[in-house]
């Protein structure tokens, strides 16, 4: 399995990951949280996270938060 396949598998795993955990704040909308985590991971997979790409990463997160559906 190459890296790309592993990344796809990782996204698939997250998609199916049950985040309904006791640790998560009860006030948090789990669907939103799921969307956010997927977006973060997808961003990491697409561009690579942190470091020089932080500005883009921050912009991406701001877009997520500004999204009406969020």
């Amino acid at each position: 399995m190459n890296n790309s396949e592993l990344d796809d598998k990782l996204l698939f795993e997250l998609e199916n990951f049950d985040i309904n955990d006791d640790d998560i704040d009860s006030e948090i909308d789990l669907n939103h949280l799921k969307r956010l985590t997927k977006k973060i991971l997808n961003n990491e997979i697409t561009y690579g996270g942190g470091g020089d790409n932080y500005d883009r990463y921050e912009k991406m997160l701001e877009e997520v938060f500004e999204d009406d559906n969020f």
């Binding site: 399995m1 190459n2 990344d7 990782l10 795993e13 955990d21 640790d23 948090i28 932080y54």
Partner: protein
């Protein structure tokens, strides 16, 4: 399944020009290369690892081979080279991906040259770079060079660090679990879990959280906002108080102005003129002094007059007159009235009254009037100018006798002075009336009032200015406060949004952390379960003894007995080999690898009786992998061969390697 279809070796040690064509079946692909010890089994093994990774694994493991490492070139060919000659050593691997049917050619070449000093050299650094990888382009029906050969090898065949689980020497299996296996398992599980991605995501989240925290710090907190609102309330209260003070001051000013106007009006009405009062006062004072002076002068004149006439009266005339008048009176009243004794006081009284001592009896209406005539006669000294009405019947006469001129002079002076006095007194009276009508006290009061009111007005004006300044200052303060509150309220909204974001991000971090744990656990579980599955399927005799496969917290792989004992170190060679193969198969499944198994002396150290069992186990693992077994004749017994034939559905590919001088000769047994 990845299939090594062919391997071509040129000048690689004993393989000068050899070509192995392996089974290309997509199932039950078993290949055997039979060779005696020292013939070239391990060389073939090394040729494959050298081709793929630039390393000869046997030389890596066993130092005794290191001296030979310089001479991958066939020694005979090398010996026959002359100065300046060059020759290539190459290994070419033909690979097919059974899933995609893609074909690849992987070829590594090293050029050897004889230099002038007779040394045979080649560029060792070439081993550090990837071999040439060509892929067959069906569209153009031609081979195309791949840009990223290492990636192709890693993704297609096996990652370099995993190769020892697929390409291994059965006689050296122990090393697999002795050297850094726990680190290896950890690394692989993390790799297959793509923990790098997750950790990067967590790092990014931490950076974002840090950024949110910084933003949060720059915003006015709720507590500060409350403080600002309190401050504003205090300022408003202060402003209101100042405003009230100002209103009061303005009212007081109004009142003072009103009083001032009233005062001024009254003063105006009174016609007050300070200068006039002064003039009048001065005139009054002069007049009063003049009156006093005149009075003194009159007194002095009268004193002078009296002084001049009194002695004369007393000594010469008056006593006799009095005696006579008394006698007359006595007689006239028929001795009923007794005349007073003649004393100095009596005389003074007479002089003061300017009357005759006989005044009473000289009264014109007196019943004694008639006696006066008689008295007149008797007092011859007195002339006839006697005036009964005025009672001055004799003085003139007497004065004349003394010094009428002087007397008259004094008398005139006195008269003049008295007239003057009268005039001055009238003037004084007039002045007093005038001054009295001016109501000085009121004016003085009003004047005081005016001064007080003016001073009060000044104070009030100053107070008004101060209050206006204070109100203005408070206004500025209030504006600043309001702006800060506005900002605070805005910040509050932003804070709420930030807190919301933070809550999501922090929870996203938790999700990633939990997801990380979950992936490791899941993949470890997968690895354990599959290893256990393969192991128990193969080690049928021992499976009842085995409780479970454990990967502990330090990533050590263990076989636990039903008595909870670690059986890993107690395994026989054959069992160890099966354990390694089970783990490799589990790893292959976990990572979805399609790597062939290349095993040197797979059964070499396994007891004869167990050899068949191990051989029989191959199909369990074989299902998804090609098998290339490099065997000696001692391990490749007839029974083993039969089993392998059976496994391969009678499509077993078998090569026999024979020595021929410094070269090997291949015989393919059909």
């Amino acid at each position: 399944m990845i299939i090594f279809e062919r391997i071509k070796l040129n000048n690689f040690r004993r393989y000068v020009d050899c070509e192995f064509n392996f089974s290309n079946d997509y199932k039950n692909n078993v290949n055997v290369i039979l060779a005696r010890n020292g013939t070239g089994k391990s060389t073939l093994f090394d040729a494959i690892t050298w081709c793929l990774f630039g390393e000869e694994d046997h030389l890596q493991i066993d130092s005794k081979y290191k001296e030979d490492s310089e001479t991958i070139l066939n020694s005979e060919i090398g010996f026959n080279l002359t100065q300046g000659d060059s020759i290539d050593v190459s290994v070419e691997l033909s690979v097919t991906d059974s899933n995609t049917n893609n074909k690849y050619l992987i070829k590594r070449v090293s050029r050897f040259t004889i230099f002038n000093d007779g040394r045979l050299l080649y560029n060792k650094e070439e081993n550090r770079i990837a071999p040439e990888v060509l892929s067959f382009d069906t569209k153009y029906n031609d081979w195309r060079k791949e840009d990223k050969p290492t990636l192709i090898i890693e993704n297609l065949i096996v990652p370099k660090d995993l190769r020892h689980f697929f390409f291994f020497d059965g006689e050296r299996l122990g090393k697999h679990f002795e050297e850094n296996s726990s680190d290896f398992i950890k690394k692989k599980v993390e790799q297959v879990s793509r923990l790098g991605r997750i950790d990067n995501s967590i790092n990014s989240i931490n950076l974002y959280l840090h950024s949110l925290n910084s933003k949060q710090k720059s915003l006015v907190s709720d507590k500060n906002l409350k403080r600002k609102i309190d401050e504003r309330d205090i300022l408003l209260e202060k402003q209101q108080k100042y405003q009230e003070d100002l209103n009061l001051t303005l009212n007081l000013q109004k009142e003072a102005n009103k009083n001032l106007d009233k005062c001024r009006k009254e003063v105006e009405e009174i016609g007050f003129n300070h200068n006039n009062v002064s003039v009048l006062n001065r005139s009054l004072s002069i007049t009063c002094k003049r009156v006093d002076d005149i009075k003194q002068e009159i007194e002095k004149l009268e004193d002078e007059f009296n002084e001049k006439i009194s002695d004369y009266f007393l000594k010469n005339i008056f006593s006799s007159i009095i005696e006579k008048s008394n006698d007359i009176i006595y007689k006239a009243t028929e001795n009923k009235e007794i005349p007073p004794p003649i004393t100095r006081d009596y005389i003074d009284k007479i002089l003061e009254r300017k009357e005759c001592i006989c005044g009473a009896c000289l009264d014109k209406d007196s019943k004694y009037r008639h006696n006066l005539e008689k008295f007149k006669e008797e007092t011859e000294l007195i002339n006839t100018s006697i005036d009964f009405n005025k009672g001055q019947f004799y003085f003139e006469k007497q004065i004349d006798l003394i010094s009428k001129k002087e007397y008259l002079n004094i008398k005139n002076k006195i008269k003049f002075k008295k007239d003057e006095l009268k005039e001055e007194e009238e003037k004084r009276e007039e002045l007093n009336i005038k001054l009295g009508s001016l109501n000085i006290e009121r004016i003085k009061f009003l004047q005081g009032q005016l001064e007080q009111l003016t001073s009060a007005l000044d104070n009030l004006k100053r107070k008004e200015i101060n209050l206006l300044r204070d109100i203005e200052d408070i206004g500025v303060e209030l504006k600043r406060c309001e702006n800060e509150i506005k900002k605070g309220e805005k910040d509050n909204e932003r804070l709420n949004s930030l807190n919301n974001k933070k809550a999501y991000i922090e929870n996203a971090k938790k999700v990633f952390t939990n997801f990380r744990k979950y992936l490791i656990m899941k993949n470890l579980q997968n690895l354990k379960q599959n290893t256990e599955l393969y192991l128990k399927e193969i080690l049928t005799e021992k499976k009842d003894e085995i409780s479970e496969i454990v990967i502990d917290n330090d990533y050590n792989l263990k076989i636990m007995s039903i008595y909870n004992k670690d059986l890993t170190r107690t395994l026989s060679k054959g069992e160890s080999q099966i354990f390694v193969m089970s783990f490799a198969a589990a790893l292959r499944d976990l990572m979805n690898l399609k790597t062939p198994f290349l095993i040197d002396t797979p059964l070499g150290r396994i007891d004869n009786e167990y050899r068949l069992e191990v051989t029989k186990s191959f199909p369990k693992i074989l299902e998804n992998s090609q098998f290339i077994l490099l065997v000696t004749s001692s391990e490749y017994t007839g029974d083993v061969k039969e089993i392998l034939k059976k496994i391969s559905n009678n499509k077993l590919v078998e090569y026999e390697v024979m020595k021929e001088g410094n070269k090997n000769k291949l015989i393919k047994n059909e």
